[in-house]
């Protein structure tokens, strides 16, 4: 497989016989009616996972999937057909299905000439992916995690650990004759700990990964950090008191709490919602939507990150997009279709879960630039509030702008000090408004450890978030204590 790693575009030629002439004929068939654009997306994915429960590595699975998606765009209409049979005949049938959205009025299209592959960045050029590491070695690490977690505290009752790795080879060929190909490794190590005492049971979770090699988890004892964090969170929560209910000052810790930006801001700035005018941010470019302390970026070009890509799933190189600059709304995240209809440039945010899915604007790594306060000063500034350091999932209603995200580790702040742990609670706010209440931004920007998965319209894609410690002067905390 070594050659596939070097030349992903060769892979589909070797394996499925997809030579230039076959690609040109399929694209020609897709464009037979009056269409603006067509593309072919080839994907070959292999994945392996293993899991530990009750101190045994008793789950292993592997999968191989492949397929091709054919898309035809005409004005704002999209025809899409896919098949997991990558054969010329099946692709011709799919092209006919996809072109059905275009007007039957025929127009002479210039024949497509497929060119050479585009040169591109190498954001995750690995010597080997974790799939090449002997499975015994991966299993051994899971057992060491189990031992370390159980040694952390006698109240640790159960440990679940899993390691998942995949390698995706993609090739996108479009009606402009452009070819982009990429080999995308991705992996993730996860630890979940259940702790129990006479008051009850609690859970803690932590993990990380990215487009990295196996040794990433061993460097700096990362696996130990993940394990201790999961165990600590479960143990801390055993003593958690009921969370408060109502609007209060909230300090978000750095790193993963950046999920706030993803839900409150990022989704509402995706091009599709804004082209259709259905986002609470529609038509607000140039307006103030945040405090001047806030600059928010989406950047798909950070090496080895979970949310990064050399090219997006339409073959556009990823980029760094300023969403909010010192409080002013600057930009949207675009795929090709929405960029064309909004008469702007694609930003490399056209992503899809797999060949079975139509691309749409999605985030990559979304974060806020650091400020000048220290995290200690931010906490010290709060007389009474909540300090939230870890979160589970979040969700947003794009149209009315209301978003939630749920704390899984949080503490009360009393007289400038983080004190008692509180039970998990959902925070709710209004996207176009929440960042106007940011009154302090610390100098400790951190990106998350590599665990994020974003869902939109039934499609899941890996993403990253990041945040420095920030103070929000008022957000509703959904606890049970009045």
């Amino acid at each position: 497989m070594a050659n596939d790693l070097v030349r992903p575009e060769q892979f589909f030629l070797n394996r499925f016989g997809m030579n230039d002439s076959a690609l040109e004929r399929i694209l020609g068939s897709a464009l037979e009616r009056k269409a603006d654009y067509a593309d072919l997306y080839f994907e070959y994915r292999s994945a392996e996972g293993l899991g530990l429960e009750e101190s045994m590595v008793n789950h292993t699975n592997k999968s191989v999937s492949h397929g091709v998606g054919i898309r035809v765009c005409a004005e704002d209409r999209t025809g899409y057909a896919y098949s997991d049979e990558v054969t010329f005949d099946r692709m011709r049938i799919a092209a006919e299905a996809a072109r059905a959205i275009a007007d039957s009025r025929t127009e002479a299209h210039a024949a497509v000439q497929v060119g050479g592959p585009m040169p591109q960045r190498q954001l995750y050029e690995l010597e080997s992916t974790p799939l090449e590491v002997p499975i015994e070695e991966r299993a051994k690490l899971l057992r060491e995690i189990d031992e370390l977690a159980r040694a952390y505290d006698p109240r640790v009752r159960n440990v679940m650990a899993s390691f998942a790795a995949e390698r995706k080879i993609v090739m996108i060929v479009n009606s402009e004759g452009r070819v982009a190909a990429d080999m995308q490794p991705l992996c993730r190590l996860n630890v979940t700990v259940i702790a129990e005492d006479d008051k009850g049971r609690q859970v803690g979770s932590y993990g990380g990964g990215g487009r990295v090699e196996w040794r990433y988890f061993l460097e700096n004892d990362r696996w130990k950090e993940y394990t201790r964090n999961a165990a600590r969170q479960a143990i801390v929560n055993l003593d958690a008191v009921d969370a408060p209910a109502g609007e209060m000052v909230v300090v978000l810790g750095n790193g993963w709490p950046g999920i706030l930006l993803h839900e409150a801001i990022g989704h509402g700035l995706e091009g599709d919602f804004n082209r259709k005018g259905v986002s609470a941010f529609s038509g607000r470019i140039g307006q103030s939507v945040a405090s001047p302390l806030c600059t928010v970026i989406d950047d798909g070009t950070i090496p080895n990150r979970r949310g990064s890509l050399n090219v997006d799933d339409e073959g556009t190189p990823t980029s760094r997009t300023v969403l909010i600059e010192k409080g002013i709304l600057r930009g949207y995240l675009q795929d090709r279709l929405n960029a064309r209809l909004m008469k702007t440039a694609p930003t490399g945010n056209g992503r899809r879960e797999s060949f079975a899915h139509v691309p749409m604007p999605r985030m990559t790594n979304t974060f806020m630039l650091p400020g000048e306060s220290t995290p200690e000063d931010v906490i010290k500034s709060v007389k009474h509030g909540l300090y939230a350091v870890s979160f589970g999932g979040g969700q947003v209603d794009i149209t009315n702008g209301k978003f939630v995200f749920s704390a899984s580790e949080a503490y009360l702040i009393e007289d400038g000090k983080a004190t008692r742990p509180v039970k998990g609670a959902t925070l709710i706010g209004n996207g176009p408004d929440v960042l106007t209440r940011v009154s302090m931004v610390a100098n400790d920007l951190a990106l998350d450890s590599g665990i994020g998965t974003c869902g939109k319209d039934g499609q899941s894609v890996p993403v990253g978030v990041g945040l420095p410690t920030i103070r929000i002067d008022g957000i509703t905390v959904g606890g049970t204590r009045a």
Binding site: M160, E247, A425, I428
Partner: protein, 450 residues
């Protein structure tokens, strides 16, 4: 091109045995679908698909491995199966692992009417026409419906074939049809609210009328206009049927074997105990004719059945596959769910809360001040502790009447107390999904707002 069928499954089981597997099972799925979407009256998308996959689980003694592939040519498949057997040898022997007890496999299957044989995949023109009609009904319902996220009609057909090395083999086909509409209402100040409604059925002719679906979606968007945040308070909460179904899903998750043997469930040790109000009875029934969650056998070849999960508030059973049943020293319940290439997991089949005698209006009329919840967002349900805190929207109830719309608040409590404090149950059970509930009234929960 290789077909997924019983012959392929038998062959793969033979290959696994030849390479040293002591037991194996094969799951083949093939599916095709068409989705057609319109927006503001125009065609927006057409998506057609065709897929087939083979999944295999092999055992070498009590070590196992799972694998799935789309490469169904026998040459490649032979190597793939051999590699999977190798993977199993590297996996720890687990005393609870193995196929189900062979004596539990059914020898005949009920006819559950899972496929609409009059209707295959609906053609694009018909699908677009239905979607267009539904969206038009939504948009023309009121001048304040000013935009739309569109309407979509989906139809799908699938075939499932499952066989194992102890002689079980079964297959079935199913169809599904659905229509959804998402109009957007806008008030004079520019604030927007979406509404969403859908209909779904295994039989095309049993779908709700497209215009009715559109009209309901419009009504739901319109009644959210002018939503406001309310003060933090503790009041009775009425869950509409869809929101109440979410509570049932959380309960089923906590009652499922894998959560229990991991110690990750608030229902641990509660079998036979009062976990809900005595007026609550919840059934899981995988044998309902024509229902979305019905199937002739579960994900490891055991018969599905009808049972009460909760009877008059008492937890009567857990939901178990054979692995979690062995762990908990109980019998499997026919609730193994399976996706190609994974170990069995557990899920309810058709899960529903037995309807009561009150209309939703009668329930609302009993509330002096409270919230009628029609929207919930976020993932703030902790299955380990039962702690519950989610973003909510709905309508404020004042003196038994629905008044103004509410948004940007949370409702919070603990599922253990919430189920015990169900005070009234509606008579409005509707089957559109695999988990359904009538309207429920909960005595009191915390609302966090301004």
């Amino acid at each position: 091109m290789a077909q997924v069928d019983a012959a392929l499954a038998e062959w793969a089981l033979g290959v696994a045995r030849r390479h040293g597997a002591t037991a194996a099972e094969v799951l083949c799925v093939s599916a095709e679908s068409l989705a057609a979407g319109v927006r503001l009256g125009e065609v927006e998308k057409l998506k057609s698909s065709r897929e087939r996959r083979l999944g295999i689980r092999v055992f070498v003694g009590q070590s196992s491995a799972n694998a799935s592939t789309a490469e169904l040519e026998r040459d490649g498949l032979e190597d793939f199966v051999a590699h999977t057997v190798g993977l199993a040898r590297l996996t720890a022997a687990d005393p609870s692992a193995g196929l189900p007890d062979a004596a539990l496999h059914p020898s005949s299957f009920p006819n559950l009417d899972l496929a609409d044989n009059d209707r295959g995949i609906v053609d694009a023109d018909t699908a677009l026409a239905i979607a267009r009609k539904a969206e038009h009904a939504a948009i023309s319902a009121d001048p304040r419906i000013k935009n739309s996220e569109g309407a979509e009609f989906d139809s799908g057909r699938y075939y499932i074939m499952f066989a194992n090395s102890q002689g079980f083999a079964g297959e079935y086909e199913g169809t599904s049809f659905s229509l959804s509409v998402a109009p957007i209402a806008q008030s004079d100040d520019g604030a927007m609210q979406n509404g969403h409604w859908y209909t779904a059925n295994r039989h095309f002719a049993k779908l709700d009328d497209a215009e009715e679906v559109g009209a309901i979606a419009a009504k739901r968007a319109l009644r959210r206009l002018g939503s406001r945040k309310i003060k933090t308070t503790r009041v009775p909460i009425v869950f509409d049927p869809d929101m109440a179904a979410g509570l049932l899903r959380s309960l089923a998750g906590a009652a499922s074997g894998p959560s229990l043997y991991k110690g990750a469930s608030f229902l641990l040790g509660k079998l036979g105990e009062q976990i809900a109000s005595p007026i609550v009875t919840i059934y899981d029934d995988g044998t309902m004719v024509g229902a979305m969650g019905s199937k002739p056998f579960d994900g490891e070849g055991l018969a599905t059945n009808r049972k009460s999960l909760v009877e008059r508030g008492v937890l009567k059973t857990y939901l178990l596959d054979s692995y979690s049943a062995r762990k908990l020293k109980l019998q499997p319940t026919g609730n193994a769910a399976r996706s190609v290439g994974d170990s069995p997991t557990v899920s309810p089949t058709n899960l529903y809360l037995e309807p009561g005698s009150h209309s939703p209006q009668e329930i609302i009329a009993t509330v002096k001040q409270g919230l009628y919840v029609t929207e919930l967002i976020g993932f703030g349900v902790n299955g380990v502790t039962g702690d519950y805190s989610r973003g909510a929207g709905g309508l404020w109830i004042e003196n038994g009447e629905l008044t103004y719309p509410v948004q940007e608040v949370t409702i919070a409590g603990n599922l253990k107390e919430m189920f015990k404090s169900i005070e009234m149950i509606g008579n409005d059970l509707r089957w559109r999904s695999t988990v359904v509930s009538p309207t429920l009234k909960i005595a009191e929960m915390m609302i966090a707002g301004a």
